[in-house]
Assembly symmetry: D2
Homo-oligomer: 319 residues x 4
């Protein structure tokens, strides 16, 4: 044992003990005591994210894949933006489409994953796992987004600029796009063309002029990375957002992100970037070898609210 | 939309909103508002488990696979036993071995999953993902368990009886086996021979007489199922515990469990029972068609503490 | 049993029997006899893909996520293109970058997933799971791709056109881009900016003019869908390619794809599109309710070569 | 590059190329050329298994979890036994129950995983993912197994002996139990009580005497390990079989298995033994540090037939 203690960093696993009413962070701290398996990684993620949020000089970039908005996670992102927990968002088009559906007056509905999809089709209801979204909201979406397109003065923009312009014209303070516009948080969406926004943009430009340049955004994100004193990435799922965030750092001489948190169900063994370990990113120079980093394997919709609640608690109590 | 509302159960997805300090259940209730994806399933699991715990006439059986004790989850199980949240435990041998390691004075240590296993072997340290356990504790284990075997009067027992006898002789009130013995909660371990306890038992019986019958336990569990007014299963992982709990009900004319909660990373598509859906169990008559049931896909060590904390909070506030 | 036979489609599971030397399709047909679990789905995928390939009037679109080229799957894609098994490719930028790395004279190397990433960084080697790629090939890449950019006459192109222009200028007949250019197979890459090609393009345009429009491609793909007598999708992994292919069909009045094959490790329960079932796509009108469709859960690099070999065998024997 | 070549074992990834009709092993060898990701691991598994089969002095132990018999994999196991590719089987009870269902004249049927389980229950059909099994075969099972129990002379046996006695009394040469009895291959089933065989045994012993000792088997398996010149484990899924095989070696002074192949969908990060890496087993002394070992992540029903076919081909051609 002594020999083990000397050679290995050693602290006994403390068992999670639950009594009375616990706040979220009190529970997370009990998990930290355990330190093992998923519980340990969750508590580490809270530590790292708290440190990131507290570091006012760190540029924090959030990667957003999956279907966070239909899942009811929109206001977590809005909070992160409004409270300056993050400074940049990189997302799939899907999350923005669903954000706009709601900003335009639509709603997502709690359905079931056991639905008969043929019947749903007949009823003009689109299913996202156990969430339902009626076709009618896409009709509304088309009308409203074209109005916004009309209203934009500058007729040549980057994707980021377009998204800011859209955000400025929204009234729903719970919208991600609106919050980002309010707070000067740039939203990047490299694959915007792969979304209903992109589709409507293309339809719009069949008759009117509105040029959107998909390549200028990269420049802007790279400059943000260049300018960052320190930089951290929070990856909710993988996909294009994860790659875009990592790639932007790659071109700078910084040597990689200083902090990284990854929450995903994707695993490394198929070789895709979505499931790649944060360690692999070190070999590329995307993440520093000494970076604080933690991966939590699990469903983002279940894990991220816990992390945000725990960090919020730590910050609430400190002040 | 009206048509959809009529034909489908419909309630809008409410977004999880986090402000100030939240208790665990306050957060879970916000997830319930969302109702979608993993967050929705987690909140449902809390609802179902609360209902189960409150139902004093329901026999609640806990299935325990995986490595819950090295993960620091031992006292959650102890709490469930001591607070009468569950009435029966079915477990792998592994969880009991690790429970005894600690009851006998050993500890598990927080290590790392990136360790060099060849070096660990040289240092006589066993790795369980990111937890370390020195060989020396198994030496201690051998000495202590043989002493207990010596001390048992009845020389022919069922596995369940053996485990009760062991539990009675422990002093560590944080031990699962001790708590179960204290509270008359039977612990079944159908595959005890597949564990270091089984191994030591066999070594012991090379010189001394101690007959353990592995088949009588089934009888006892079936009788518990027969006698149950209502019955519920909580499946932490799959494996033998899940099957044993479901199978015991199969032989009764009850028509299946009334409630079921499953937390697992296993999926259905390989066809194994561990990942089988609770719906599949309906076809067998193991779970009632109208049973309240919910599966949460995820790491038990991360998810179960949240569920227990939320249920505990609901019960603490009620009383 | 008779009652079961009447109400349910019923055929006994035949056990896979292996004797002597089997061709790939002989094995797949034995799996078809079983019909169960993953083996059954694999055999169905071979049936559906064979039917698709044989249907000369079906437009077949391949979605390519993950890291197929580093995995050694490049020539499978080239074969699909050259043999007219597919008519359109939608891919992540990553696969094209790695295709170009090799077309420009670089290689990927068999490494190990247990490597020390900090040391790899010091040695200027990038790791992709268990594949190594030296930095030096990216230097080569930069030089060669800028030369190609210089050589392109048309200075305003869609992403698809740019990729065709690049393909035309390659000499490596084993390149995906070259094969596609040779065979008039359009390659779409909606998130090209999220790749080293996009990065180099941006660097290039800092000094020279080369305008690439990311939104025109969608138009072209939608027109392909419109024009298709029948259409089929083959989804290797999820991500942007899967969504882009499905979305393009959504806008047409076709009612969805007639055939769909999906091979992926992603699952439905987190709600993201990558893991969404093909059934879910029916609710959106992206896939027809009566479409032949099959999902194989597994590693594409392991499963897709089997499918291609089996289909090839069926076609070789027919002719 | 030279520096990389010196420090790292380096061979270029060769792309899988498919032309004409390929035998299974020809395809596997092409995957070996690639060497990357899942394709590489599959080809390694074929190499290691071939070597194991050829080594007549190696004791080869097969661990069998999941639902291999309903999946149509029974005759693969029978082949392994009859051709002396393996010398010992450790299995869950489930696989033996399904083996006996068929040996007694029952069948499994190809159904669908989208079935309505409530209706299936009404029709007395049990579902195993996409396989159906009517209740009636369990009635037949009861009758036949009790007859066999009656017929066994020795009234006190180990589980292994009981299974041999059952196997001897079967006529179906395609039965695993029959093949094992024919070939003197011991079958261990540590959790037999967790199966319908165990259930029927218990029912039987309510009226008649038949004592089965669950702990003697361990002794026998340990002795097999002791006696083995070299030893290899093939783990199809995890669960009790994996643990039992590894644990038996633990008690010997051998230092672990010399070869190990693992095929599973379970992953390491939840800390359970089912998903534990083979590397972790080195720290315990269950597998030698220098052991040839390979893990293939995937569905056993899809992957194992390929491995068996490829090994069979190598052996067929050699002779």
């Amino acid at each position: 044992m002594k020999r083990m203690a000397k050679k290995h960093v050693l602290r006994p696993v403390e068992h999670v003990q639950i009594t009375g009413v616990l706040t979220v962070d009190q529970l997370v701290k009990k998990m930290a005591g355990s330190g093992a398996f998923g519980a340990g990684r969750l508590s580490e993620a809270v530590d790292v994210f708290t440190e990131m949020v507290k570091d006012r000089e760190m540029t924090k970039i959030l990667g957003l894949a999956g279907a966070m908005v239909p899942a009811g996670m929109k206001q977590l992102i809005v909070k992160l933006i409004r409270d300056e927990w993050i400074n940049v968002v990189v997302t799939t088009g899907g999350n923005l489409v669903h954000d706009l559906v709601e900003a335009f007056g639509g709603r997502h509905y709690k359905g079931t994953c056991f639905a008969d999809d043929t019947k749903l089709r007949a009823d003009k209801i689109n299913r996202i796992y156990d969430v339902f979204l009626p076709d009618s909201y896409f009709v509304l979406f088309e009308k409203k987004i074209h109005k916004i397109f009309d209203d934009i003065k500058k007729r040549e923009l980057s994707i980021r600029e377009l998204l800011t312009e859209i955000g400025k014209r929204l009234k729903d303070s719970n919208s991600i796009l609106k919050a980002a516009a309010d707070c000067d948080v740039p939203i990047f969406c490299p694959a915007l063309s792969d979304s209903i926004i992109g589709l409507q943009l293309w339809l719009y430009t069949q008759e009117k002029k509105l040029k959107v340049d998909a390549f200028r955004d990269m420049h802007e994100l790279i400059e943000i990375c260049y300018a960052a004193k320190r930089a951290g990435g929070i990856f909710l799922g993988g996909g294009v957002p994860k790659n875009f965030i990592l790639q932007a750092m790659l071109v700078t001489p910084k040597g990689g992100y200083d902090c990284a948190i990854q929450i995903t169900m994707d695993r490394a063994e198929t070789g895709g970037l979505s499931g790649a370990t944060l360690e692999e990113a070190i070999s590329w120079g995307k993440i520093k070898a000494r970076a604080k980093r933690v991966t939590v394997i699990g469903d983002v919709t279940l894990i991220f609210p816990i992390i945000v609640a725990a960090v919020n608690e730590r910050l609430s109590i400190v002040h």
